[in-house]
């Protein structure tokens, strides 16, 4: 278990989003907007990895892109170290925000310029921020050491295609760290890597959350990966968070039907990763399009436990009684929870 210091630096969130929405314009006449992110609130703390679990179509990647400033939200607030991020903010504040929140993507080969040597790939953020060329080399070498690409001299002159996926992903992490961000958003960082290489990257992220004093938002569709290094877990379905809390808590007591079915469905190699009930709940049908979100609770057409109220009202996230921070959005848990 990690011990978090009680100093304000750690207890105040380093990044916060409140009721964040990102809608896309409708496809054509008679279609509503595509509500990719539909009211998400999250807080990120330094020294903590927050896992965001969602399948494709859940809006998880869109959320990541909005949080890093690659897209503007349709509604809601973003606060970076207490400072609001909004249209009309001053140029210097915008640049400060972009330095503070960095991102890494699923496919490292698509995230770097194939014509750049590694030295140029990793030093690009420094160049864009006016760091003189003479100082860049040293910082790059130090960054490569930190991510395990050692000795750096062996990697500086190589081109992306000369590296393995795992090595290149480490270089992408190094690049993301160059400006000393307080938040790293990692969107499916290991999904495209071979199994035997994944642990190395996950261990690195775990080490860096303290070494760099930053928060990590780890986005993935793979619960097994998330459980390894996440301190906190948030589960997303069709644009909304349906369950969240400390990882141990959420895994030991999954409360939302969607998460329960998900944990039941994960094919495991090692026994007892999750308590699984093979004959338990199952979901009907497939996840709907984000342009056709059902009314009320988004899961009701597929949920085996759905009742009338589920179709009528959208459930709010409520705190499960007896827990510090385990929240669930499900009408069937009214008794066991409080607002």
């Amino acid at each position: 278990m990690t011990l978090r210091s009680t100093s304000p630096e750690y207890t105040t969130p380093v990044m916060e989003v409140r009721e964040l929405k990102r809608y896309f314009r409708p496809r054509g006449r008679g279609h509503g907007p595509v509500r990719a992110v539909d009211g998400v609130s999250l807080t990120l703390h330094r020294g903590e990895i927050t896992g965001l679990l969602g399948e494709s179509g859940s809006g998880k990647s869109t959320l990541g892109e909005v949080m890093v400033g690659l897209q503007w939200p349709t509604a809601g607030e973003i606060l970076s170290r207490g400072m609001p991020v909004e249209r009309g903010m001053s140029r210097s504040r915008w640049r400060e925000f972009r330095r503070q929140v960095q991102i890494m993507f699923q496919n490292p080969f698509e995230a770097v310029n194939p014509r750049f040597r590694l030295l140029d790939v990793v030093s690009e953020p420094l160049e864009l921020n006016g760091v003189p060329r003479s100082e860049r080399g040293e910082q790059v070498v130090s960054a490569l050491e930190r991510v395990g690409l050692s000795p750096p001299s062996e990697f500086l002159d190589r081109y992306p295609h000369e590296l393995s996926g795992g090595q290149l992903q480490r270089a992408c992490i190094a690049r993301a760290l160059m400006l000393g961000p307080s938040v790293l958003i990692a969107d499916e960082p290991v999904s495209m890597l071979d199994l035997s290489v994944r642990a190395g990257i996950l261990t690195l992220l775990e080490k860096l959350k303290f070494a760099q004093n930053m928060a990590v938002l780890l986005i993935s569709h793979d619960i097994s990966t998330l459980v390894v290094v996440s301190d906190r877990l948030a589960v997303m379905y069709l644009g909304k968070i349906v369950e969240a809390g400390a990882t141990d808590e959420v895994i030991a007591t999954p409360s939302h039907p969607y998460l329960q079915v998900l944990l039941n469905s994960v094919p495991t190699v090692h026994k007892s990763l999750f308590a699984q009930d093979k004959d338990g709940l199952d979901l009907k049908g497939d996840i709907p399009d984000a342009g056709n979100i059902p009314p009320g609770c988004r899961l009701w057409p597929r949920c085996p436990l759905a009742e009338e109220i589920c179709r009528a009202e959208i459930p709010e996230l409520r705190l499960l009684k007896g827990t510090d921070s385990h929240v669930v959005a499900c009408h069937l848990l009214q008794e066991q929870s409080e607002p």
Binding site: E55, L195, E206, V228, S265, L273
Partner: protein
């Protein structure tokens, strides 16, 4: 008689500056109604093997030696036309990316009907009826038949492809990473589907994947490949509980098992560049247990008393090695050496 018997297959790809060795003498067999998993990481040759069986290799692939014997016939020796008459009817392929395998300008139902009618003399109506029955049995609504590929979700497309593949009840299905693009819940449903198909049609399957969890759920036996060779094979439970090859041990221990990255194994280094043949065991540079003889002689793939196979000079000590392989430190301490040697 085995439904499929691959015998000492050697395949290389002709590229600028020489050749890349993809398969270095691979042999395997699949019996009727058996589901065999083929696992390995990037560059191990599993996709090449799958495509070789279906004669779907690219133009620059060269079959240097070996046979692919299906129901007693060497598929590699058949004329194109002869092979085409067997493909789909007797052996079928379920590829990885469903969207790029369905024709976007025809409705899905029409494609299933086409597949059926190209091998059997039936009327359009009869074929359509078959298609309808088929789709219902794999839990797809009838209206999917009238849809275009892009109108279906990823999971539905994959199931449509499965439907097409089993339309003619083939004896062998070669399935290539069918669940990579799917969410966990759909993945589990698709795997259950395969089990049902095996029960109802006694089809044999070669399930090619890097997902060990899926293998455990679906397969009877597993074959592990590394750098173009089979390095271990056996019953599913044997492989997971009592792996005999260090690479298999590394893979099994790399699968997440709960909280704490500290417990996860990461195999340092990378698979060998297949432009030059290895001198000894291909895994030796990355193996924490490698000895002199490992780099000097390529280990033979030996039959074991319990029916499994392993290619490792140290297989007698596998019990002792397995214990050490569970500890990440065993692997990480040789990190620098492994990187230098690869």
């Amino acid at each position: 008689m085995a439904v499929l018997l691959v015998d000492s297959l050697v395949i290389e790809y002709s590229v600028e500056g020489g050749a890349v060795y993809a398969l270095e003498g691979v042999s395997l067999s699949i019996d009727e109604g058996q589901i065999v998993g083929l696992v390995g990481e990037s560059g191990c040759g599993k996709t090449t093997l799958g495509k070789a069986i279906l004669r779907l290799l690219p133009d620059n692939a060269v079959v240097c030696a070996g046979k692919v014997i299906f129901q007693g016939q060497d598929l590699l020796q058949l004329e194109d036309a002869q092979f085409r008459s067997r493909r789909w009817r007797d052996l079928a392929y379920i590829p990885q990316n469903a969207l790029s395998s369905l024709d976007p300008v025809y409705r899905v139902g029409a494609q299933v009907v086409e597949a059926i009618r190209s091998h059997e003399r039936t009327t359009k109506t009869q074929a359509m009826d078959r298609a309808r029955q088929l789709f219902t049995s794999i839990h797809l609504e009838e209206r999917s038949l009238r849809s275009y590929a892009h109108q279906l979700s990823g999971g539905m497309r994959q199931r449509a492809l499965i439907g097409m593949a089993v339309a003619l009840s083939p004896a062998l299905l070669v399935i290539d990473e069918p669940t990579t693009a799917l969410d966990v819940v759909t993945q589990a449903q698709v795997l259950k589907e395969f089990l049902r198909i095996r029960e109802q049609m006694s089809s044999s399957m070669l399930y090619i994947t890097h997902d060990l969890g899926g293998v455990r759920q679906l397969c009877d036996r597993v074959i592990v490949m590394y750098a173009g060779q089979v390095i271990e094979g056996g019953a599913v439970e044997d492989i997971f509980a009592r792996a005999r090859h260090p690479y298999t041990m590394g893979l099994v221990n790399a699968v997440p098992r709960g909280r704490g990255a500290a417990q996860l194994v990461s195999i340092p280094g990378a698979p060998p560049n297949l432009r030059s043949k290895p001198l000894g065991c291909a895994f030796a540079p990355r193996c924490p247990f490698a000895e002199e003889r490992c780099t000097a002689h390529i280990p033979d793939l030996r039959q074991l008393p319990d029916g499994g196979r392993v290619a490792c000079h140290l297989s007698e000590r596998s019990g002792e090695l397995r214990e050490m392989a569970e500890r990440p430190h065993t692997w990480s301490r040789m990190g620098a050496t492994a990187r230098q040697r690869t």
